[in-house]
């Protein structure tokens, strides 16, 4: 199972990467929105985890790009910050499947990923 993680903050990125690799997933990392869009064009993913605020392209733009592509129906989890409830709602309207608020428990992320990826 291949998961794309789009997050520009190194500590978050490493934490998510390690948690998912320990769970046995093949993890592809993108440190900004543009890189994430390129990876989405090149590869097929089983799930995408994306931050909202990133350089070059936001998480909302990524969700929009993925959902516009009819063939790509993989679940999307957004990483939101405290106080971003309005953005989370917008993300759901665009087609996100779940969200997790930073700071988060890596184990909680693991459970949420497993729940979506095995649906």
């Amino acid at each position: 199972m291949k998961i794309l993680v789009a997050e520009d903050e190194a500590i978050m990125l490493k934490t998510i990467d390690l948690r998912l690799r320990k769970d046995g997933y093949d993890v592809i990392l993108a440190e900004d929105g543009l890189m994430a869009l390129e990876k989405i064009r090149e590869l097929d993913f089983d799930l995408i985890i994306t931050d909202i605020m990133m350089p070059y392209a936001s998480g909302l733009e990524i969700i929009n790009a993925v959902r516009k592509e009819q063939s790509k129906k993989m679940p999307i989890i957004i990483l939101s910050a405290m106080g971003q409830e309005d953005v989370v709602l917008e993300a759901f309207q665009l087609g996100a499947d779940d969200y997790i608020t930073k700071p988060f428990s890596p184990n909680e992320l693991s459970v949420r990923v497993k729940r979506l990826i095995t649906k």
Binding site: E9, I11, M12, L18, K22, L79, S105, P106
Partner: protein, 152 residues
């Protein structure tokens, strides 16, 4: 108070220092002299990976002061958008340390950046909040390095 009693209380104070108060090294919660929680490593310890934890401690020790300085410079330059973005990002990663004092200040500074009215005092308080935990984080790092060296 007699010299003997004074000496006794001094010893008692040393024993109940912030570092010892929170239990043996390797515990997750560190408290300050007033009992306030400085940080909590429980989220990071969930991964049960000493190398990862060491990497994270190194990153916190490097990134947090650097980012706080970047926030300060942005505030001096009245680059409010940058203050907002930097404090927003730092809030998330510092949040993994579960440092309530630092996070609360970063939330305030983030909001101030958005409102284009930043308090230099709040930035200074954030720097102090980090300074209060820096020593303990460094100790955690040293202890972890020694533990890992022993297990090689």
């Amino acid at each position: 108070m007699s010299n003997l009693k004074q000496g006794f209380f001094q010893i008692l104070q040393k024993i109940s220092s912030p570092f010892r108060k929170s239990g043996p090294t390797g515990s997750t919660l560190k408290t300050g002299p007033d009992g306030e929680a400085l940080y909590d490593l429980s989220l990071l310890r969930e991964l049960e990976d000493d190398q990862y934890l060491l990497n994270m401690l190194n990153m916190f020790l490097q990134n947090i002061p650097a980012q706080l300085e970047n926030i300060r410079i942005a505030a001096v330059d009245k680059n409010f958008e940058k203050v907002y973005q930097l404090s927003h990002k730092l809030k998330g990663s510092a949040g993994m340390l579960q440092s309530r004092p630092l996070m609360d200040l970063l939330v305030q500074i983030e909001r101030q950046g958005k409102e284009r009215q930043v308090s230099m005092n709040d930035i200074h308080q954030a720097v102090l909040a980090y300074a209060r935990m820096e020593g303990s984080l460094k100790m955690e790092k040293i202890v972890l390095e020694r533990k890992m060296a022993r297990s090689v």
